[in-house]
Subunit: 304 residues, 2 copies
Amino acid sequence: MGLLVVGSLGLDDVSTPFHKIENALGGAATYISIAASYFSAPIYLVGVVGEDFPKEYIHLLESKYIDIEGLQIIKGGSTFRWAGKYHYDLNIRDTLLTELNVFKDFNPIVPEKYQKASFVCLGNIDPVLQMRVLDQMVAPKCVVCDTMNYWIEGQRNELIKLLKKVNILIINDSETRLLANEPNLIKGAKSILEMGPEILIIKKGEHGALLISKDSIFSAPAYPLESIYDPTGAGDTFAGGFIGYLHKTHDLSFDNMKRAVIYGSTMASFCVEQFSTKGLEDIDYLRVNDRYREFLNLSKCDEL
Amino acid sequence: MGLLVVGSLGLDDVSTPFHKIENALGGAATYISIAASYFSAPIYLVGVVGEDFPKEYIHLLESKYIDIEGLQIIKGGSTFRWAGKYHYDLNIRDTLLTELNVFKDFNPIVPEKYQKASFVCLGNIDPVLQMRVLDQMVAPKCVVCDTMNYWIEGQRNELIKLLKKVNILIINDSETRLLANEPNLIKGAKSILEMGPEILIIKKGEHGALLISKDSIFSAPAYPLESIYDPTGAGDTFAGGFIGYLHKTHDLSFDNMKRAVIYGSTMASFCVEQFSTKGLEDIDYLRVNDRYREFLNLSKCDEL
């Protein structure tokens, strides 16, 4: 039992055409673990922050029963910072600032009680660090991994090595094309499945997601939201909801992964309705399930 | 009874990274009527070509039982020509040439026996001409209309007037944002439904399509094709399959329109597998239905 989440925790300055916030709680591991917390426990967090990381954010994680024994707080250090600006079309954003700070020397140490966790979610960090985490684990049942174009281009060999130990890779459509070096998405997906993972999930933002195995494909819609305020963290929240549901059910069949994808999309839809992690803070499992059912209806069609 | 199709017929020069063809059969009305021909009859075609339009293309249309009494063949005139080049990523294309030729002075005349058609599909032409067609019809039960950014920007007032007489508008996602002047797709869709149509269908290419009414939304996946050779005509083929199925069933319920969207997507998936209309020429209704069922499975998910 147990779901280990590894990745960044940070302070975000985000501006959209609607609003502007500073020093907001951010980072992949933050969104993943909070989203997953709605499904199962225990959730083990491995990450690093500086001494400037606000106590209230620590309390928020604890209030979601996230175990923070693996969270390193570096004395005198500054937390990872990211600043971004979204355009009127929220699909387009500019990164204004990335300060690695304590993240630069991050060495993920997995506490002993985390090492037997059956599920692992590797947030988007250097594949060298992701591998270092896996090396400390005893025998995880399911390893989910996120990555990005930066690592696909800059750390390709390390990433390829890592993929042999990954069960489920979650990336977006352009990253799929880049990693596979193939413009056709489905051909690209199949060649990535040759690299190690049994399952590839392709996130397509406002167009939903694809779940792909060697034999099957499932196409999940996106929730037709009229009020998107801040897309930050949507992809990580998707991953958190996805693995949270898998961890809850301990069922790795393709049919159950379909449901996990819909739960991931459900959590992401709550995330983007408010700034930072706000949209994930005040929901309950009943609301999650209501929206999950709406999601299912969205693509339901009787053959006749 | 009867489905009237109005729009362009043309000769296309298309190049992709895989192949190059010249003088291929093209045009919106061509794709729409051939796709619709797999579902129902009679299909009435209104359009214009020059004397250079190859006889074999006329024979092809006739072989699909498409009524061409309304096809004007202008003596000494040249057929509408389009040339385009697709990039390695087939989602991107450059238009190399557009020669209107006989299309420049096109005045659509609806033969008397067409005027009582119950279904009308207005291919993407000047909204002034689309209106002129509707003015000649007696009492169509269902009017489907396609348009594009060129008309949304250049003929906005005429288009808005036309939309009051349209039941179902089919456009893509960027056209939705442009017509509604709203970056959020769902908000944009709702404001377009205020302009007249009861139904809006948003085509999203490789991401599928959305069917939207005031009360309901249906999200249809795209078929995960590994071999896309030529995307030309996919959108028109979608419209043809969609209205062909509606015309066959005469059922305008939202549930039946969902099925029509899947049939439209099915036809489009055949279209892009080969050049020009080739992918639509050698199929039969059995193959169409097999792929239709594969499409349904693609987004099928049991609630548990």
